[in-house]
């Protein structure tokens, strides 16, 4: 990964897969981002990592005993590190559900941002030997890495990194949840029904957003296809390697009845055993690649959420405009007496006679107020919609560049992994050959 703009502030874990983007330097050149000072994300001031995971027992919301895992979030001020002082990091424990809460908050509060995803809640795309158990140490470890990756991505995002709730999450262990709930973000969340309805009924969504939405479907489809195919391949490869272990046993048995050939056979058998065992590490490493793909599988959903939000705001604007137009029409009808559109009032007037002038006055006045309100609403909605479009477009571009870079790197790393696997294979078979030659 030869990226010159890489922040020195990236965390100190050794996992090879984390591709936390530095985001800022290369991208800000192309962005007209007036919201954030150039180069000032949280990650510049603070070093963050998810250092450990531990099992805890406790009571859940329904007062029942449960076992869960907590993760240690450590932070350190950047300047201290830069100056060479090595202060002890501040740390607090968080469980997965708290990360979820944080993310949900961010989703609602910043609906025009493609919010980084969390690692999967349950193990999916599992191949044969891989455990689907949430308590499995390998799963927990991979999740720890994923959570750290999430925090790094959020903390290096030009907009998200300034969020106060995020700061609290990183620094206030207790009482954080209450603070989040107090923001009332849950009330602001769009109902799914409304969002769905908007998708179907919106008339003029921004074309670019529709393309993005279509793209997010493609991204999701391909990454999940790839993950499934890879899991099947891993499964089969595992089988191939493991069967070779049988050679180890039979060579050993055979060597017992041989004089000169015995030693060579026996040692060759050991190498066959080693070969069969080598697949475990190889596939464990490949899981990192799978995790990278999974991140973008989930990112696709975040992207789609932004597009849906656009549909919703656009739809609401259309509704508000429509409402304003119909009210203005009503006003016109009332003022001129010409009925152009069907209305109940018109019907009853025809049937039961015109209303009294005082009533008409009252209604006109009401309509005027409603129209004024309606115009305000339309103005608001227009601003909301335009703002969303502008900000979301910026972030979607940022996302696209990040995605291209990350996936390209992931593919290259995959190739590197394959080369390493081939080298191991050559080594082992060459060792076996040496033994055979000594037979």
């Amino acid at each position: 990964m030869a990226e010159d703009g890489r922040d020195e502030s990236l965390a100190t874990d050794d996992e090879p897969d984390h591709t936390a983007a530095d985001g800022n330097n290369s991208l800000n050149n192309s962005l007209n981002n007036t919201m954030v000072e150039e180069g000032s994300t949280l990650l510049h001031t603070m070093e963050i990592c998810v250092a450990e995971a531990e099992r805890r027992n406790g009571k859940n919301t329904m007062n029942m005993q449960e076992t869960f895992t907590v993760y240690l979030v450590e932070t350190r001020p950047m300047d201290a590190v830069a100056e060479g002082r090595n202060p002890a990091p501040d740390s607090l424990w968080r469980r997965y559900s708290e990360f979820e809460l944080l993310r949900n908050y961010l989703l609602v509060t910043h609906p025009y941002i493609v919010v980084p995803p969390l690692p999967e809640k349950r193990a999916e795309f599992v191949w044969h030997k891989l455990s689907a158990d949430n308590m499995d140490p390998d799963f927990v470890e991979r999740r720890r890495v994923g959570l750290e990756n999430f925090l790094l991505r959020v903390a290096s995002h030009p907009v998200l990194s300034n969020d106060k709730i995020l700061h609290h999450f990183l620094t206030e262990e207790h009482g954080w949840k209450e603070v989040v709930y107090e923001t009332g973000f849950q009330a602001k969340a769009d109902s799914r029904l409304r969002a769905l309805s908007a998708t179907f009924r919106v008339r003029n969504p921004d074309k670019r957003f529709m393309e993005m939405k279509h793209y997010s479907d493609e991204l999701q489809s391909h990454t999940s296809q790839l993950l499934r195919a890879r899991a099947r391949v891993a499964d089969r490869l595992y089988g191939v390697y493991k069967v070779h272990g049988n050679y180890g046993r039979v060579f050993s048995e055979w060597s017992a009845i041989e004089r000169e050939m015995g030693d060579g056979l026996q040692s060759a058998g050991h190498h066959m055993d080693a070969y069969a065992a080598s697949i475990d590490d190889i596939l464990e490493e490949e899981e990192h690649y799978a995790d990278q793909l999974k991140e973008y599988l989930f990112y696709a959903e975040a992207l789609r959420a932004v597009c849906r939000k656009h549909e919703l705001t656009q739809f609401e604007l259309e509704m508000a405009s429509q409402d304003l137009i119909s009210k203005k029409q009503q006003q016109e009808e009332l003022a001129t007496g010409i009925v152009r559109t069907f209305s109940f009032k018109g019907m009853t007037n025809k049937l039961f006679g015109q209303e009294a002038p005082e009533q008409r006055e009252a209604r006109l006045k009401l309509l005027e107020e409603l129209i004024a309100e309606g115009e305000e609403t339309v103005k608001e909605k227009t601003v909301e919609c335009e703002e969303h479009v502008e900000r979301a477009w910026v972030d979607m571009q940022r996302f696209k560049e990040q995605k291209d870079k990350d996936l390209r790197e992931a593919l290259i790393n995959y190739a590197v992994m394959q080369i390493s696997m081939c080298k191991k294979g050559i080594q082992m078979w060459s060792n076996a050959k040496e033994c055979f030659l000594k037979m």
């Binding site: 195919a229 391949v233 050679y247 039979v250 593919l411």
Partner: protein, 443 residues
Amino acid sequence: MSVGAPRVLASSGQKPITEILHPLSAAEDQLSGTVSVGGDKSTQEAGLTNGTPVETSSPASTSSLFNRLQLDDDLEADVRDPYAETTETRDLFVTVDDPKKHVSTMETYITYRVSTKTSRVEFDLPDYCLRRRYQDFDWLRIKLEDSQPTHLIPPLPEKFVMKGVVDRFSEEFVETRMKALDKFLKRVSDHPVLSFNPHLNTFLTAKDLNKRQGLALLTKVGESVKHAAGGYKLRARPAEFCAMGEYLDTFNQKLGTIDRIAQRILKEQSEYLTELREYGTVYSSWVGSEEELRRPLEGVSGSVTSCCGALEDLGEGMSQDFLPVLREYVLYVESMKNVLRKRDQSQAEYEGRLEAAIIRKQEDRTPMPVEVEKCQDKVECFNADLKADWERWQSNKRQDFKQLLTGMADKNVNHYEKCQAAWESLITLLQDKQTEDKTSESN
């Protein structure tokens, strides 16, 4: 040897085998050009460079020939064998190659070219080249078994193949069979006793074998040892022959296990290959929605495809070179067991006759009959021959398996090397692109 798509075998047309001109007089493609044999050339005999057609014989058989050159130095000379001193100088070389299909009104069959080079006086000419079919090899083997009952005769490849299941004329089948026939002849011609058998001479030199198929199966009573029908029971088998029997049983078992493992690996690899192919297509189908990632995605897809090719080659190689040799050794073990049984029979007969003679002697003082002495001789002869053959067999087995297993290791190394190359070229490609992009970005 890699085999391409099944080709139609060269056919000799309608001529029956006996009418095909003797190659020395015909314009057939002859033994020409120098030979590059793997290994130390300095120990090669002048005879070998005279043009054993290496381009058609497998490297395996040439190097195993070479191995046997070294091997004979180790063999203890059989004192009964008047030609023992000459084990260091080889004077008989045979090769089987060039399969051709013959179509006649009655049947269709394959013939193989059998080439002989020798300086032995038992042969009229120094070179021979003629064509034989499987039946002829079978005839030879039966003749050898009958005339040399105390010796281990190498096995032939399976005679019968189910017509519906195996294509007798496919290139792979013919190739495998030919290699086994070549091995058979080489083993026979390397044997200090069997190679002087007149039937071998006939096989290598006569235009027409004149086999009388039905009669060939009948054996002269005097020459052969009767089988179980003799009815003699063995008292005590000498320990060394017991040990041989036990060894063979265990060895056979291990061979069977290895065969099953190899087949299982082939099956698993084949299933892996299926998934791998699918996996490659997923990458290339993703290209459609990604512009920037086109190169790496297509690249990965391409590398995966290359790996599929390498895997196919590995499977083919194991199928064609490894499994047949393994199975042939099972047959070899069977032959050896047969010889052990015959030896037991011979000993049993001797013991039976001896006992009868002793009883008679006690009764009416008749001297030991000549037959009993002859039996004793026979048993001693048998034991000695068998021991010598056993040692030779063990030696050959060691060489053969060393070769077989290193071959397997080589194939696997080769497979990984191909895969590694495919992935490395992708990295180079992508890194070049990366530097290209960087320089254009900074401009």
